[in-house]
């Protein structure tokens, strides 16, 4: 618990008209650790992600990122692409969003757009293939090759991403996010639709990313075999509020959490039961 805080969310509220999707939420994400956000369906987890990554503008509250190189940043004031480009907070999506007709490698190269675009000097250096641009392109290719290898995608690098099986597409999406060089990687249900073996592989991957590369991971997940095995810290949401926070062991035994997932009496079983 002595590690530095990378991201601290304070009093975040997100309202859509009369609906309060997130209600006065405060969470802190430690650097170099895996933090999981869990909760029943409709608890506001994805909305929380959208607020972090600039897709929604929070109604009130602040999202502060302590960037290891660039210092403190306020994510809630930044627009969509700046969060990824400047703050290097990168996300994946619950329903996979790849560039399906482009190859796996192209997906990973597109993720390095800003780096390459700067090197291409308004495309002029690119059109004439000047050495500076060629060098940048080789570098981008190397980064992509590195992550392709790491995620076991090298053999299918030149295949259109949309033609590949679901589990592979999940890995491609993570590889693509990694190519943006994230300081915080936000994964929205990375294990959804994976079989038990693939889930186990995902566990290994997440742990190695965190331990070896030092990337902090923020994870939304329903699959408890993933959440309980990899998380250093878990935060439980229900109806937009934080109902519990702690280590996997603490969360497992928290009466509030059990209530949210399984329901107190026979009345509320329906909504919680499905999610669990």
């Amino acid at each position: 618990m002595s590690t530095a805080t990378l991201l601290s969310v304070e009093n975040l509220t997100m309202r859509f008209g009369g609906l309060t999707a997130i209600d006065d939420l405060s969470v802190s994400v430690p650097a170099g650790k895996i933090t999981a956000i869990i909760g029943p369906n409709g608890a506001g987890k994805t909305t929380f992600f959208n607020c972090l990554t600039g897709f929604y503008k929070p109604t009130t509250g602040s999202v502060r990122l302590v960037h290891p190189k660039k210092g403190e940043m306020r994510l809630e004031t930044m627009t969509g692409h700046r969060v990824a480009r400047d703050a290097q907070v990168v996300r994946t999506f619950q329903n996979i969003r790849l560039f399906p007709k482009m190859t796996v490698l192209e997906n990973l190269i597109v993720a390095q757009h800003n780096f390459l675009q700067d090197a291409s000097r308004f495309s002029i250096a690119g059109i004439f293939r000047l050495p500076g641009y060629r060098k940048a392109e080789a570098e981008a290719l190397k980064t992509a090759a590195h992550w392709l290898h790491r995620l076991g995608l090298t053999d299918i690098a030149d295949v259109a991403a949309g033609d590949l099986p679901y589990g592979t597409q999940r890995r491609i999406e993570i590889a693509r996010a990694l190519c943006v060089d994230p300081v915080l990687l936000c994964l929205d249900e990375p294990a959804a639709g994976l079989n038990p073996r693939e889930s186990a592989e995902l566990n290994t991957l997440l742990l190695s990313l965190c331990r070896e590369e030092g990337i902090a991971i923020l994870l939304i997940e329903h699959d408890m075999s993933v959440v309980m095995n990899v998380s250093d810290h878990i935060c439980v949401l229900n109806y937009g509020r934080k109902i519990a926070e702690g280590t996997p062991e603490e969360i497992r035994n928290d009466p509030q959490v059990i209530k949210a997932y399984l329901g107190e009496d026979d009345e509320e079983t329906a909504s919680g039961g499905i999610a669990a």
Binding site: G80, R85, F99, L105, H113, Q117, L141, D158, A177
Partner: protein, 433 residues
């Protein structure tokens, strides 16, 4: 889907008969007004006469034609199903390369082969203008996936920029070309800004409106554009300052006198042809290069998934505006050439039909495919020309051809996509040799 078709049993003769009978029935319904009845001029008054014999022949032909067509289709399908579907190497990229070079060779050799046939070269020039417009629109529609129904506006901006720069300031073709391109690009960005948030149908409607606005302005702002009367006597481009005139002004030389050739009207026609060929080829090289650059990949990524682009830290606004600007600029260049070739422009040349034709070329060719645009432009310009003998049935023929292409090749003539970068360049190169 395909499995269902393969698993389907071959049709029995009775089924084929029933199928053909249905087609015959539809032909009968359509045929009664179209074939069965005709108007005849009798002493100044129009009377309706019936043509049952012809109607019978029409229905019979439809029936027999459908029966035979179905039978052939079944034969083809059976043969295809019988063939083992193993070891099918995708040779499309190589084939595209070969066809591409062949088309290029043919287009260079064309004026030599038809040096005295003005009609052929004029038609080929028209094809090339459409090819260039198609390549320009391909950036916006094919690569960036932004449906633009008002592309002709940029074509008009280019043409009018040259015409006005000439009539007010006496600028020549070569001086006006870059300025007109920049002007069209500016208009592209102007159009791009308000529609950044729009997508799909809504985007199409606004671009359609933009195209019409430009045309209506050109018709009504008479002081600027001379209204529906258009702007005439626009000078033809020169070859490094050498005009293609019969009688050059005193003290200057024309193309014919400089090279000591006898004057021929064909020189200018051939020169214009080669000029548009060079412009089109430059466009092609430019767009192909851009496609392999970060901008080009960003365009394609935008077409695939805009939200994912944002999540990758891409400035979607810039990506969209650059696509509109580059596409518009290429349209503007084509417009300058058009003005110079015609010598006269009026708003009538820039109607919605033009936009639709250019869009049809891009879609028919296969979105994003460069060679596909060439083939589609050939089809769309040449078919109506070749069909001239069929007089009023020309457009019917044209429509049928378009429907057939879309039935057989739903994603365009050349739909395969070549990756912009490969991990293993060695294998890719080995595969090509």
């Amino acid at each position: 889907m395909s499995a269902v078709i393969i698993a389907r049993h071959a049709r029995t003769p009775a089924e084929r008969f029933k199928d053909a009978a249905w087609v015959g029935f539809v032909a009968l319904l359509l045929g009664i007004p179209m074939v069965g009845l005709t108007t005849v001029d009798q002493g100044g008054a129009l009377t309706v006469q019936t043509r049952f014999g012809m109607l019978g022949a029409f229905v019979g032909a439809s029936f027999v034609g459908r029966f035979i067509f179905r039978w052939i289709m079944d034969q083809v399908r059976n043969r295809r199903a019988a063939k083992p579907a193993v070891a099918k190497v995708d040779r499309t990229p190589q084939a595209i390369k070969v066809i591409g070079w062949a088309v290029l060779g043919a287009s260079i050799a064309l004026p030599i082969a038809f040096s005295e046939n003005r009609y052929v070269i004029d038609t080929a020039t028209t094809v090339l203008i459409y090819v260039m417009l198609g390549w320009g629109l391909n950036v916006v529609v094919g690569l960036a996936g932004l449906l633009d129904l008002g592309y002709v506006a940029f074509y008009a901006v280019g043409a009018y920029t040259y015409a006005l720069l000439f009539s007010h300031f006496g600028w020549t073709f070569w001086e006006a070309l870059p300025v007109a391109g920049a002007m069209a690009a500016t208009f592209g960005i102007l159009l791009g800004y308000p529609i950044l948030r729009l997508r799909g149908d809504y985007l199409a409607i606004v671009t359609l409106g933009f195209g019409e606005i430009i045309r209506v302005i050109l018709v009504n702002w008479t002081e600027l554009s001379n209204g529906p009367n258009g702007i005439g006597s626009i000078p033809r481009p020169t070859l490094f300052g050498l005009p293609f005139d019969r009688n050059p002004t005193e003290g200057t030389q024309s193309f014919a006198t400089f090279f000591g050739l006898e004057f021929s009207g064909m020189h200018r026609i051939i020169f214009l042809y080669y000029l548009i060929l060079v412009l089109a080829l430059l466009t092609n090289v430019f767009v192909s290069r851009l496609r392999k650059l970060p901008v080009g990949r960003a365009w394609e990524a935008l077409r695939e998934d805009e939200i994912a682009c944002k999540a990758m830290g891409m400035n979607v606004t810039n990506v969209k505006l650059s696509a509109f600007a580059i596409g518009a600029m290429l349209g503007g260049f084509a417009g300058v050439f058009f003005a110079a070739r015609q010598g006269f422009i009026s708003p009538e040349s820039f109607t919605f039909t033009e936009s639709a034709t250019i869009l049809a070329i891009v879609v028919l060719g296969g979105m994003g495919s460069q060679l596909g645009v060439v083939l589609a432009a050939l089809v769309l310009v040449l078919l109506p020309e070749l069909g001239r003998n069929f007089s009023e049935y020309r457009m019917l023929l044209f429509g049928t051809a378009m429907v057939l292409i879309m039935v057989w090749k739903p994603s365009g003539l050349l739909a395969s996509r070549e990756p912009t970068i490969r991990l293993n360049k060695a294998t890719a190169a080995g595969g090509q040799s």
